[in-house]
């Protein structure tokens, strides 16, 4: 920028106000008149009639040019690169010729211009730009223009004036680009704080771009040829492409980067290229505020067809610019750019979404190319091997962006939403080759056709897509109606041939199986497609007949999701719940329960077989523990006996003839041998290896053993055997059944069994919440919900310890369900430092580390307090204060608690309930002290299906509510407070 201009800028910095009223002198000059532009003539600048200027405004003048063939003169302009760069603070792009020519010709051709601009204002000029120019008006004292024009961007007048002043030295330059002066002027505007030279160019150039598209293309091409070399420093967007291609020949991907990185200002320009509306904006997108301008323009053009980033001569490769229309080329499915075989791999990269050039990845494909998806060209086949081709074509067909946009499909006059489209495409008999367009769909019979045409196909009936069918959907004129649609002549013909009585213009009611009734009558009159000949007739008349799969419909509704849906659908609708807890907290039971609850076949045959073996080996293990216990008891008893012998010989229970001492824990020799063998096997650790074979062999022995008084005696003292888990009783009591060869584990057995879910690592189950019956009343909105699938992921806590390294893999879960066994409060376990710690404290520590893990920042947590049944029973015997965390538990017990059990009318909370609430509050306080958020708590008993179902429903509600939270005001959702009833102590 020249210094003078700079000064002027400083002087002219005024206090601007929005939309100031114009109080200047009346307009003296002639009002501009609109003149239509001749398309094949590029409007050019003519001689500027020197307008009187205020003295202090010494402004550049643009000398007129008669540049009727710009392309020729263009090259001239290159010489002035140097001057240009110091002249313009912002880079003037050669293309600005097109945009700014109009202001240049302002004096002569202002009529046409104003017309253009007036019409230009119809296009989306952002409102701020209008303000901007109005603000500026007080600044141009000399140029009094019609106030009416103020809204239609009249700034070009001052432009013209300024030009005429100072730019005179730049004549040649402006020869080439009449506009450079203008953009210079715009730079002034920018400095004035208006900062919206963009919009002017925008509207102007848009207008121009329409009319001058022909010439501009010439321009572009010529620039691509000449400009690419000379304009290296000019940093214009249209140029980088060619620049770039020079640099990045070796490394195609660096091409993208330079696009992004080379120049911060360039970025908006790149975006712009996606929409023809703003194609020319990059002309002056150097200014900073173009950023938001483009973003404003963005939403309107999202669906607009993407234009290739580079413009090339017809037939040439868009990357290397070589070749002609006969060279084989691959086309980008988005932007129409064509690449020759040398460039295609570099231009398209790894093709994660099929054949798209790198800058088009993530954009929707051009609908006209939908038919070509997945159809490989010969060129690619030559370049790549079969496996690669297969992957590309698979990606092209199945990736989410390339799917048909739902709003492009109208069914019965209503555009579909996403879920409806999925429903339509995943039904058993989906419409073939669904293309964008308007369709009609007869929900009762499943007839499907293009709007205004006869039916083309019979798809699955009863899909809840689109609006109700219209009588004129297929544009029939026969007065015969099927399911409320007037049918076409062809259909009528078919009906007649099929033997349907069509006299008297009846209204038919046709079901999906082809049975038809006359409207208002109950009895089925027959089956349209029942006769063998009908299908032939249909084939002749090219009318659809029901496909086999659609006939066998009926229950397809319930298992829509079980259909093989593409991956992108699976990912989209899946809500993940993470279930974790300290070992022994019952996560595995909850997981199994969920599996049994929500799966039709919770465990496959194989799994059941494995589980059976597992349960049986578990039982052997329990038995071993019991036998060990028996030995210990026997020994103790014998010791006691020996000690007591002298004094209390009579107390001896029995004495065999052999003189061997015996107690109630003694067993006969045969059983003893077996017991010894079993213990030996267990110690050696290969129980699993031995036992399947031994089942048959030892079954009678086991039976005998179990019924022996010694084992029963030991079993009675099982609470003294720490090794024996609490569930062992359940299995031991049914031991005889379980150890049969033909034993089949029941669901309950599986629920109780230890180690069914893989004892380490993760297990996950996908499920749907079964729909309650009443939900049928709610229609579409709930149906979409039913498409939501859930995944319960259960993670074994073992191996968490101090490092939660792999927790970060679960950052996409929606909610963390943390299980704590209530009954743990008096149990102790060995922690990693080999000291004995209360299990509740271990649980708490684990809880803390999970909650404070950075991965779960802002995650919802649901605390499940499990094993309430055990807890309820235990708390009566053992005080909750056994755990040091709960030492301030002093429940207020009513005096008549003793008989409160039978006087349930007063609803005095039981000690168990009090304990539960107390623990819940303890955890909530801990949680809010760690995160300042609210913890959701639910009571659960893993062995009861209902309670697990309810707590998972609760989790779903939390997630759902979380999605809807923005819709509620704060006051509204406080109603949903999940605070466990306030607990005070």
């Amino acid at each position: 920028m020249s210094p003078e201009v700079g000064n002027i800028v400083v002087e002219e910095r005024l206090e601007f106000a929005f939309a100031m009223e114009y109080h200047g002198p009346p307009i003296t000059s002639e009002l501009p008149r609109a003149v239509p532009i001749n398309v094949d003539r590029i409007p050019v600048a003519a001689v500027v009639s020197q307008m009187p200027l205020p003295d202090k405004l010494s402004l550049p003048v643009v000398q007129p040019i008669l540049a009727n063939n710009l392309t020729k003169k263009f090259s001239k302009e290159l010489k002035f690169l140097g001057s240009e760069s110091n002249f313009l603070p912002i880079n003037v792009s050669p293309t600005s010729v097109i945009a700014f020519e109009s202001p240049n010709g302002a004096v002569i051709r202002d009529e046409s211009l104003s017309k253009e601009l007036a019409s230009g204002s119809e296009i989306t000029v952002s409102p701020s730009s209008v303000y901007a120019f109005e603000e500026r008006r007080p600044g141009n004292d000399g140029c009094d223009l019609s106030g009416e024009l103020s809204s239609s961007l009249d700034t070009h007048y001052p432009c013209g004036q300024y030009e005429s002043g100072e730019l005179s030295g730049m004549v040649d330059r402006s020869n080439g680009l009449g506009s450079s002066s203008i953009s210079h002027d715009h730079s002034r505007e920018l400095l004035n704080g208006v900062g919206s030279s963009g919009p002017l160019g925008f509207s102007g150039s848009f207008e121009k771009s329409r009319e001058l598209s022909e010439s501009s293309r010439k321009m572009m091409i010529s620039r691509d040829y000449k400009g690419s070399l000379d304009y290296n420093n000019d940093l214009n967007k249209p140029d980088w492409a060619s620049n770039e291609s020079v640099i990045s020949v070796d490394y195609p991907s660096s091409r993208v980067s330079s696009l992004k990185v080379a120049d911060g200002c360039n970025e908006p320009g790149c975006d712009v290229k996606r929409a023809p509306v703003v194609t020319f904006c990059d002309i002056e997108s150097e200014d900073e505020d173009s950023n938001d301008r483009f973003s404003r323009a963005g939403p309107e053009v999202v669906r607009a067809k993407k234009e290739p980033a580079v413009r090339v001569r017809k037939g040439a490769c868009y990357r290397c610019l070589k070749g002609n229309r006969f060279t084989e080329k691959e086309v980008c499915t988005v932007c129409d750019a064509k690449f020759c075989s040398n460039c295609v791999l570099r231009a398209m990269g790894s093709m994660p979404e099929g054949r798209k050039c790198l800058s088009c990845i993530g954009f929707q494909i051009d609908e006209s190319k939908r038919g070509n998806l997945g159809k490989c060209s010969r060129m690619l086949k030559r370049l790549l091997n079969d496996l690669e081709i297969r992957q590309i074509m698979k990606a092209e067909k199945l990736c989410e962006v390339n799917q048909l946009p739902p709003e492009y499909v109208c069914v019965n006059g209503r555009p579909l939403c996403y879920e409806e489209l999925i429903l339509l495409q995943s039904c058993p008999a989906p419409p073939k080759k669904l293309k964008p367009g308007n369709y009609w769909y007869d929900k009762v019979s499943g007839l499907w056709g293009k709007e205004g045409q006869k039916p083309s196909q019979i798809i699955s009936p009863h899909l809840n897509v689109g609006g109700p069918i219209k009588p004129d959907a297929s544009n029939g004129n026969t007065q015969v109606y099927i399911n409320g649609r007037e049918i076409t002549k062809v259909e009528l013909r078919m009906l007649q041939l099929a033997g349907v009585q069509c006299a008297g213009n009846p209204h038919f009611w046709v079901n999906e199986d082809g049975s038809y009734q006359e409207e208002g009558q109950k009895n089925t009159k027959g089956y349209i497609w029942g006769k063998a000949g009908t299908k032939l007739v249909c084939a002749v008349l090219s009318l659809p007949v029901p496909s086999k799969s659609s006939c066998a419909s009926g229950d397809q509704f319930s298992n829509i999701v079980s259909h093989t849906a593409p991956d992108y659908l699976e990912q989209r609708a899946l809500q993940k719940f993470l279930l974790i807890g300290y070992s022994g907290s019952g996560t595995s039971t909850i997981f199994k329960q969920a599996k049994i609850l929500y799966k039709d076949v919770p465990f496959s045959e194989d799994e059941r077989e494995n589980i059976k073996l597992l349960i049986q080996s578990n039982v052997y293990r329990y038995l071993g523990i019991l036998l060990e216990g028996r030995e210990r008891f026997e020994e103790e008893n014998l010791n006691d006996l020996r000690v007591n012998q002298p004094s209390s010989e009579d107390e001896l229970i029995g004495r065999t003839d052999g003189g061997e001492e015996q107690t109630i824990y003694s067993i006969c020799r045969r059983l003893k041998a077996f017991s010894d063998w079993l213990l030996k096997v267990m110690v050696s650790g290969n129980l699993e290896a031995v036992f399947p074979a031994s089942i048959r062999e030892y079954a009678p022995l086991i039976e005998e053993m179990w019924s022996s008084s010694a084992i029963q005696g030991a079993y009675k003292r099982r609470s003294e055997l720490e090794m024996l888990p609490s569930v062992a009783g359940y299995f031991l009591e049914r031991m005889v059944d379980i150890l049969r060869f033909d034993y089949e584990p029941t669901d309950v057995d599986i629920l109780y069994a230890e180690g069914v879910t893989s004892s380490n690592g993760v297990a996950c189950v996908d499920f749907l919440f079964p729909e309650p019956a009443y939900e049928e009343n709610f229609n579409s909105s709930d149906q979409h919900d039913s498409l939501l699938r859930f995944q319960l992921i259960r993670v074994q806590s073992r191996g968490f310890g101090e490092n939660c390294k792999w927790l970060e893999m679960f950052e996409d879960v929606r909610i963390v369900i943390f299980a704590v066994a209530l009954s743990d409060y008096d149990q102790f376990a060995v922690d990693e430092k080999r000291s004995l710690v209360n299990k509740m404290m271990l649980s708490r520590k684990f809880f803390e580390s999970i909650v404070s893990h950075p991965t779960f920042d802002q995650m919802d947590f649901l605390l499940l307090l499990n094993k309430y049944d055990l807890f309820e029973e235990k708390i009566e015997r053992i005080s909750l204060t056994k755990c040091e965390w709960f030492d301030d538990f002093h429940p207020v017990t009513s005096r008549n608690r003793a008989n409160s059990s039978n006087s349930s009318v007063n609803h005095a909370p039981s000690l168990g309930q009090l304990g539960f609430h107390y623990i819940a509050v303890k955890f909530k306080r801990l949680f809010s002290s760690l995160t300042d958020r609210k913890l959701y708590v639910s009571l659960v008993n893993g062995l009861e299906p209902n309670s697990v179902d309810q707590s998972l429903m609760f989790a779903r509600e939390i997630v759902k509510w979380d999605d809807e939270r923005p819709n509620f005001s704060a006051s509204e959702y406080s109603v949903y407070s999940t605070e466990a009833s306030s607990f005070s102590h």
Binding site: S257, G349, N760, G761, R798, K805
Partner: protein, 377 residues
Amino acid sequence: MSVAELKDRHLAATQTVSALRDRLKQKRLLLLDTDVAGYSRSQGRTPVSFGPTDLVCCRTLQGHNGKVYSLDWTPEKNRIVSASQDGRLIVWNALTSQKTHAIKLPCAWVMTCAFSPTGQSVACGGLDSVCSIFNLNSPTDRDGNLPVSKMLSGHKGYVSSCQYVPDEDAHLITSSGDQTCGLWDITTGLRTSVFGGEFQSGHTADVLSVSINGSNSRMFVSGSCDSTARLWDTRVASRAVRTFHGHEGDVNAVKFFPDGNRFGTGSDDGTCRLFDIRTGHQLQVYYQQHGDNEVPPVTSIAFSISGRLLFAGYSNGDCYVWDTLLGQVVLNLGTLQNSHEGRISCLGLSADGSALCTGSWDSNLKIWAFGGHRKVI
């Protein structure tokens, strides 16, 4: 012997051990008069210099939908296998940057993957505690998925890392969250040896990484959450040959130096270290102070073919190129054009050393190659 007495003796023994360990450390410090960097500087070596186009990103492998966790190159052909949180293994042709296989995994939580030496099969492991082998030549099922050809199950914790024993397709070494490493025979699907574990002198926390000595495939080194690295001999499973202390955080990555006499480690404490397996000494610490107090953990490391360069990926998205001799950062790939937008989770050098592949949590892989006329180092 009473319990109390035993406890006392145990306590005394532990104290003795730690005292001995301290003495060992002192002695080592005494013996360690210099580190690699100091010596090379005294020898007048100058760091490798990098021009702006010397190492450039030449391919971007797009196709994963989730965080990339692991990658591996084939030894001879230019193919890469990568594992991602979207539950897929993808086999790439690094030259054309196209996918050749996309394998959907039964368990989406995959942490590691490896290419077999012949390039016929790939292995992967993750939170399912199983190492699965896929034969790339086996026919796909009707959904187009490649079936698992072998499941190596036996670990009691997640499989954090796996590597094929060089030059044979039949053996594989895994590391696991159950504090052990395992040597597997793939043909039988059985574990031939377990390294570490309850009664043996092994790692005392999750093992995160293994690396097999390239010149002597009987030796391998493992890095663990107990902040040590251990050297193992596959013939002696009972105890580690040597334990390398020094790190102050979990050892996330170990990698043998190309000559097989040294190995590098990368850790949560933000440092990379170079250890000598013959002396057990720590030769060099590679650490650069960041502006803020944050110390980004090292996620993955790789040596250049000569060993002169050490590539280290950090959790903040940086990828430093260290000059191993002088201990200086000579390049940061994270600041180059076209770099990853997320944490760099894995690194790997192609067998001929001409290209580096990085995998990131931004779900892309990038291949970096020496541009211009620069020779491979």
